[in-house]
């Protein structure tokens, strides 16, 4: 890498792409809210029951929305020939992959975190616990996006890999989901938040390399 400017460009491009895809930032919100919305009336909403499962449901909705967000990102790059261009650059591909994932998380993942309090309230979760929980949802969401990116890169060269992705990503999601759910129950200061941060750090340090290796494979 000669200068950070290629990376900044990759990041900007990914931001633009995340905005331009469909009607932009509104849509993951739609998926997230919709998924959270389907639960209560299929499950029944006796308030006591809902409030006890609410934070967990938010975790599931967050995981699935992340999956849906990252699913096509790298496959689209492959189909358009953009990946061929990046793979021939001197900029290390893992940095490009990381920039793309983080840009997508900023555009599609962060709004979901900001949405957890209102949706949590709708699911009758104790409002006081929701704002501190946003840190956990933010950390967890980033990990989901990272692993979702790896799965997306692995499935990129397979025709319609969208569903393969869920098979690959969901197992990777499990540790994050477990610690995340515990962390939201314990509140801030609990040990699970530390474990959650550890899984996210782990994802941050592994996922870009895994994704870039998968992308080299896809482009070959």
């Amino acid at each position: 890498m000669r200068s950070p400017s290629p990376l900044r460009a990759a990041f900007r491009q990914a931001l633009g792409e995340a905005w331009a895809g469909g009607a932009g930032v509104l849509l993951p919100i739609g998926f997230f809210a919709g998924a959270a919305m389907l639960v209560p009336f299929t499950v029944g909403s006796e308030a006591s029951q809902l409030s006890s499962i609410g934070t967990g449901i938010l975790w599931v909705a967050l995981a699935l929305a992340s999956l849906v967000s990252m699913e096509r990102v790298f496959q689209a790059d492959l189909e358009d020939g953009v990946l061929e261009l990046w793979a021939q650059e001197e900029t290390p591909l893992f940095l490009v992959a990381a920039a793309k994932i983080i840009a997508h998380w900023l555009v599609s993942g962060l709004p979901l975190v900001l949405l957890t309090p209102p949706i949590g309230i709708a699911l009758q979760v104790d409002a006081g616990a929701l704002v501190p929980a946003m840190l956990a949802y933010g950390l967890g969401g980033l990990a989901f996006f990272l692993w979702g990116g790896v799965a997306g890169a692995l499935a990129a060269s397979v025709a319609r890999g969208g569903l393969l992705i869920s098979l690959l990503a969901l197992p990777l999601f499990v540790p994050t989901a477990i610690f995340g759910a515990l962390a939201t129950i314990e509140g801030p200061g609990g040990p699970s938040l530390l474990f959650l941060s550890a899984t996210t750090l782990f994802a941050l340090s592994i996922a870009p390399f895994a994704a870039s290796a998968a992308l080299r494979l896809a482009v070959d």
């Binding site: 061929e84 482009v219 070959d220």
Partner: protein, 197 residues
């Protein structure tokens, strides 16, 4: 035009003993390719002969099944696919890659040179086939790179576009660059060598 004008007898790319197996077929084997400053190699062969496969190996996209590729200089790549995203306008495309390559060239000037100033702000998915191709080729002008790898660069271009690209190639060679291109039909420039697949 080439960024570090190599001395005339140094190669810009050199591949030795390349081989490619696809499925149960050996596409080519023990193939050697070398290009020096000012040269233009044309890859020849019927549909499916392996021209694109070879080019991808030369560009470092595919691992050769045999042999080695040495490429001491940077290169530009124009593949079958244009690398233009559906929502991306030519302006966004050229600005983006200009940034990546730290280019100081003026995107608007390049666009008008390539005849894409009119659809400069039209999303890629709405462009005509030729306009997409022209946008991809415009990348060549963003940064000086000694080696150009071009896979059927003239496809989808109109007569004027073909002449334009031919003149780009000639200029590039004159300034010490090298070009390797897969082509069907007659080459509109003077080839310095052919590789038959």
């Amino acid at each position: 035009m080439a960024e570090n004008a190599a001395t005339m007898n140094e190669f810009l790319i050199k591949a030795v003993g390349l081989g490619a197996i696809r499925g149960e077929r050996v596409l080519f084997s023990d193939l050697s390719v070398e290009a020096k400053a000012g040269e233009a190699l044309v890859l020849r062969g019927a549909n499916g002969a392996g021209k694109s496969t070879l080019l991808r190996m030369l560009g470092g996209l595919s691992r050769p099944d045999a042999g080695t590729v040495e490429r001491p200089v940077r290169h530009h790549w124009i593949g079958h696919r244009n690398g233009l995203k559906p929502h991306e306008t030519p302006r966004a495309h050229l600005t983006h890659w200009g940034r990546v390559w730290g280019s100081t060239a003026d995107a608007i000037e390049i666009a008008s040179h390539m005849g894409i100033e009119r659809p400069f702000d039209v999303a890629g998915r709405l462009l005509s086939a030729g306009q997409k191709r022209r946008t991809a080729i415009a990348r060549l002008l963003l940064a000086d790179r000694p080696l150009w790898l071009l896979d059927e660069p003239f496809s989808a271009l109109d007569t004027q576009g073909k002449a334009l690209v031919t003149s780009l190639i000639d200029r590039h060679r004159a300034s010490g660059g090298a070009v390797i291109t897969a082509l069907h039909g007659e080459a509109p420039f003077e080839a310095s060598g052919e590789v038959q697949l």
